[in-house]
Symmetry: C2
């Protein structure tokens, strides 16, 4: 299995991306194709090229975070994002992982891989690993800003397939994110989506409120991309604050008590807990509904998050997610 990794995308590119990719190649026994500037990647990863598992695919251009997705994908044909997506299109790689401009990754996937037949709107499905029990999925976490009820039903179907295959949940409970549990609650999109979802064969448990996300009430949370993105980033922001507050507090305590900070964090068990709310460890989000496997990692991903995203990509390939979506969409 070859996984193409965008070595030029993300705040910590290329160093942390390369580090994470090398770790993943070793840990997951996958072949990594690092996509980016050949001279730079040769300097960073040259000594690993002699061993199997790592190769470099040259891509001279970079699509920056603030560049308009459609235009940049159409003009920067030698960018790491376009080149990486095309590796998947041409069968040279089985998945593409990027921490770069999400909009550009989505556009490149739509243009060059295309939508799976029957899918109206591909959507990003994020893995939220911050609950007390198992992870929950949030779909759409940011692609489709203005949605119709039929799109929401498809998000539920896509999320349900992904949850079954990736998290091994038998009959995933689907919750519709709303401002109240009653079916009369919600904006007009949510109210109409609720009625459609009730008629499906999905395990639809009804509306869920914001505080239920983290409580593991539902396995898959369905939202339009506008609301989903805001919720995802709200969680990330609070997670950030939790982590830095803890670090700050522990540092303060260290001075006072002469106990080493990390030891105290470990003592109270907060080290592993802090990690769970930290986006730097996130596994990334999968773009569901396109002809190919595409994983979007957080823009601030460091080596460990990239490694985890590659792990998720591997799982996505092994479970044959695209094929399953194709079959269900035709069925």
């Amino acid at each position: 299995m070859v996984i193409a990794v965008d070595a030029a995308g993300g705040e910590y590119a290329p160093h942390e991306i390369v580090k994470g990719a090398i770790k993943a190649a070793h840990e997951y026994k996958v072949n990594i194709a690092l996509v980016g500037s050949k001279p730079i990647l040769h300097v960073l990863a040259g000594r690993y090229l002699r061993k199997p598992g790592l190769s470099i695919i040259d891509a001279g251009e970079v699509i920056d975070f603030h560049e308009p997705p459609v235009e940049s994908v159409r003009t920067k044909l030698d960018s790491s994002i376009v080149v990486g997506i095309n590796l998947v299109r041409d069968g040279a790689a089985q998945a593409f992982v990027s921490a770069g401009n999400t909009g550009a990754v989505v556009c490149a996937a739509l243009f060059n891989l295309g939508k799976i037949e029957g899918i109206q709107r591909p959507a990003l499905c994020s893995v939220l690993d911050i609950t007390r029990s198992k992870p929950v999925l949030l779909i759409d976490s940011g692609v489709n800003i203005n949605c119709r009820p039929s799109h929401m039903v498809q998000f539920a179907r896509l999320g349900s397939i992904y949850c079954r295959q990736i998290l091994g949940t038998d009959s995933p409970r689907i919750g519709l994110l709303s401002n109240g549990e009653e079916e009369t609650k919600g904006n007009s999109l949510v109210q109409k989506s609720h009625q459609l979802l009730k008629k499906t064969n999905l395990n639809f448990i009804g509306n869920i409120e914001g505080d239920a996300i983290i409580k593991g009430v539902a396995d898959v949370i369905v939202a339009d991309g506008f609301t989903g993105n805001i919720v995802l980033k709200t969680l990330e922001g609070l997670g950030d604050t939790v982590v830095s507050s803890l670090q700050h507090l522990v540092q303060g305590t260290t001075k006072a008590t002469h106990v080493q900070g990390s030891a105290l964090l470990h003592l109270v068990g907060l080290d592993s807990w802090a990690k769970r709310v930290d986006y730097r460890e996130y596994g990334g989000a999968c773009l569901l509904g396109v002809n190919g496997n595409v994983i979007v990692a957080h823009g601030r991903s460091q080596a460990k998050a990239i490694k985890n995203a590659i792990g998720l990509a591997k799982q996505t390939v092994e479970q044959g997610i695209s094929q399953l979506i194709k079959e269900e969409s035709h069925g």
Copy 2:
């Protein structure tokens, strides 16, 4: 100053409400009119009635959390919510505080107090006290589910006034909640609202993303009531988890190290920090744009949150918020 308090509303009514009200009467030197079943309140608060500061107003009916707001307000004329709002309408109280059915409180206020002239849609303005520095305001946190751009501009104006008066911020920075900072980002409501907000004399800093809420980038965060409510509850849910995880971890540590749990929490400074993310301490949200002062407390408010909500009500009255909104709406 008399503040009417709904003694029958909320998950911990009447005990915790009465406890919080008695504390507030003492601490803030305000007169509290407890609104609820006279026989019950006499049992709970009878011994405090001899002293000044506390009185009971009989209201034999209760509007439950799951009752439809409009219908229940129209039929249950002797409910604590309707009676309490009418005390404000008739000038017998200067503010009303309730932890009961939010929809019913809003309806009763709209029907019996009426909107301030010029205000299209009254909105709930929540105080989020979870940032690292000072609190931020979120408006609308749950009343207006389907909004027009002109409503969003009014929310910004209402929030700006409230922020100036309650938090003492000179020129409050107004942020529009969106899925990206660029003005081209957002659903159609947000995009149109952005253009209108740019033309106002408000200190509009542009779109802000979910992770910026907690970072204190803006003083007032503007959202439609659907998105605002989901964000508020997402923060509450994560806050809940933080608090209980910490408690759980500290309890586990206690057994292991024979240090007392609360002492350890105090040692690492997490006790005060945990409180800040805990809704049980929230001061409540103010319904802005109606003729009168109405504070909605969290449904799970315990004594301390009720006391804080009464403190917020007192501040709202002292700052003459309704009058200021009237003046600015006419001006």
